[in-house]
């Protein structure tokens, strides 16, 4: 009996899968377009941005941190990429690199404040979220950047796989997930990340450079937000200073739905991909039903609280 239950994945892992199936069933009854292959392509397009944000977010949450700035840092990155290319006439590859660099630097700044000044991640990233948002608005004058060179929208191009069109961006996202999954599972630095999140004291005493692990995690998370910026530019074909506002919460929701514990040290990165798909399916299905965007945000808010509560309760029982 106890053997059987230890082999079954915990409720926290099964819950999201059940939620996904129920939601998909519900939406396919509500809208006959939901199960179409075009719609599936659309969901993947939408998931790729939140999905990549969720990778960075997962790494941070695994260390028992949180990053509220992810969506805003991504928006800043996308404005840097597009404005540098369009307004400054920079080569789009260089402009993209600049965007990635800016996002990584924001991540590094978060990491430095968390490790060197030992501020709580919640407050640090609440601050940098507002700073990134303000810089985005000031630098772009709140204007959308248009007429992008084709290079910047490369990841928006699609590949036909049977009936479904997969964008290069979505394929890239899946590759990133695979890479990070292997890193976390199979490498010493990956295991150290779990150790730091699960028991920072044990990690320190066994000689793991915990502060360096944390700093690296925040900086790398910033890099992932930069990649998400690249993907959102490719998907929308513009540099949008208003981007990232819903993606911020969506990314955190995806991680939590995917079963990663907010207390750190527990979780599997592929769960976050599942979580991102759930968030994408909800948003997509609700849109097809004609539910206004603000209600979708309302539902996402409820979803994240439900997921955290389920996680908490199922852990308490075990």
């Amino acid at each position: 009996m106890s053997k059987l239950s230890s082999r079954l994945p915990p409720l926290a892992t099964l819950g999201p899968l059940i939620a996904l199936v129920v939601a998909a069933g519900f939406f396919s009854i509500q809208s006959d377009r939901f199960l179409s292959s075009q719609n599936f392509s659309l969901i993947l397009q939408q998931v790729m941005v939140v999905g990549v944000l969720a990778i960075g977010q997962t790494l941070i949450i695994l260390t028992a941190g949180i990053d509220l700035s992810c969506g805003m840092v991504m928006a800043l990155g996308s404005i840097v990429m597009t404005k540098f290319a369009v307004d400054l006439g920079m080569h789009p590859a260089l402009a993209t690199l600049c965007g990635l660099l800016v996002c990584s630097l924001f991540g590094l700044a978060n990491g430095l404040l968390v490790t060197k000044i030992r501020l709580p991640p919640f407050i640090v990233t609440l601050g940098t979220m507002n700073i990134a948002f303000a810089i985005t608005q000031i630098y772009s004058s709140a204007q959308t950047v248009t007429d992008l060179p084709a290079f910047l929208t490369f990841f928006g191009n699609t590949l036909k796989l049977g009936e479904t069109e997969m964008s290069y961006g979505a394929i890239f996202m899946l590759a990133l997930y695979l890479g990070v999954w292997l890193f976390l599972r199979e490498t010493a630095p990956g295991r150290h990340l779990y150790a730091v999140g699960n028991s920072p004291e044990a990690a320190r005493l066994t000689g793991i450079a915990t502060q360096r692990v944390l700093l690296t995690v925040y900086a790398i998370a910033g890099l992932f937000y930069g990649i998400a910026a690249m993907l959102i530019v490719a998907r929308t074909g513009v540099g949008d200073p208003q981007a990232g506002q819903t993606d911020n919460l969506d990314a955190i929701t995806a991680v939590v739905l995917g079963g990663t514990s907010l207390f750190g040290g527990r979780g599997v990165i592929l769960g976050s991909l599942l979580g991102a798909v759930i968030v994408g399916v909800f948003r997509n299905g609700l849109t097809l039903m004609g539910v206004a965007s603000v209600y979708q945000t309302l539902i996402t808010g409820i979803l994240v609280i439900l997921a955290v509560a389920t996680d908490q309760l199922s852990r308490k029982r075990s």
């Binding site: 890193f183 199979e186 490498t187 010493a188 630095p189 295991r191 150290h192 779990y194 150790a195 699960n198 028991s199 004291e201 044990a202 990690a203 005493l205 066994t206 000689g207 793991i208 040290g265 527990r266």
Partner: protein
């Protein structure tokens, strides 16, 4: 019995770890006031003392957790200065902390090798620092068997273990990597009778592997059952080193509390 012969054998053994005149002050408080310390090869030395006797400061100095203001430490006859616990570990001194320093959600094998993972041979290990989980699992079985800790799977999470088994994981980790000394801080404090005895048995096996063991404990019966010698710490100094074979428990407590002076003890009580 054979205990006495072990005792005599131990007496002739060389000193593996020695400290002289250790001083540690915290502001106005003098925690260590010229403390001496001697650990012989292959013995279990219990360190006892009342609260505030400087017992934990002594252990922290020996394990590298604090740097003493004065005094010298010699490991295998060589002068050493530990800057951190990691530094002491590099010198072959392993410490089992009271809170065990294990990550509960991680597996036994991962905890045994935490921070010292075995990497895969070749490019995978060198370039990506990929871990060799198979090798770690195999070695983990060996380490746990060495101490006769009967746990079936090394890939089960530490949080699924009993208190004594968790202690076993921490002790096995120390025994596996120590080259000279294992320091155990209150290893039986949170355990019931049965599990406490299991841990004592484990500590004996660590000594029998040839390592010197420093045991900090409040539990007098445990100390008397297992220690080869007892270091009594009082008022920041070493008050006496006694032989548990020949001294009574009440005399030991009397020295610890200051009711009796070391000089008042019978001749054969000293070790």
């Amino acid at each position: 019995m054979h205990n006495t012969t072990t005792q005599n054998a131990a007496a002739s053994k060389p000193l593996v770890f020695r400290a002289t005149g250790l001083v540690k002050r915290y502001g106005q408080v003098t925690a260590l006031d010229g403390a001496d310390f001697e650990l012989r090869d292959g013995e279990i030395l219990a360190v006892i003392g009342d609260n505030g006797a400087g017992k934990s400061s002594l252990i922290k100095a020996l394990s590298g957790a604090v740097v003493p203001d004065e005094g010298e430490m010699y490991l295998d006859g060589k002068l050493v200065h530990f800057k951190s616990p990691v530094d002491a570990r590099r010198h072959g001194i392993e410490t089992v902390y009271q809170d065990l320093a294990v990550a509960p959600a991680m597996t036994i094998a991962e905890n045994l090798f935490m921070g010292r993972e075995i990497l895969r041979p070749g490019l995978l290990g060198k370039l990506f620092r990929a871990i060799d989980m198979k090798q770690m699992l195999t070695d983990a079985v060996g380490y746990m068997d060495d101490l006769k800790i009967g746990i079936r799977s090394m890939s089960q999470a530490v949080e699924t273990l009993s208190g004594g088994q968790r202690q076993g994981v921490a002790v096995a980790r120390s025994a596996a990597f120590a080259r000279h000394v294992v320091i155990l801080d209150e290893p039986t404090a949170a355990l019931g009778v049965k599990e406490g005895n299991m841990v004592l048995e484990m500590i004996r096996r660590v000594r029998d592997k040839g390592l010197a063991v420093i045991l900090i404990s409040h539990n007098m019966p445990h100390v008397f059952e297992i220690a080869d010698r007892i270091h009594i710490q009082r008022l920041g100094k070493r008050a006496a080193v006694v032989n548990p074979q020949t001294i009574s428990m009440s005399d030991t407590v009397a020295v610890m509390t200051g009711a009796k002076r070391s000089e008042d003890l019978p001749e054969d009580a000293h070790a």
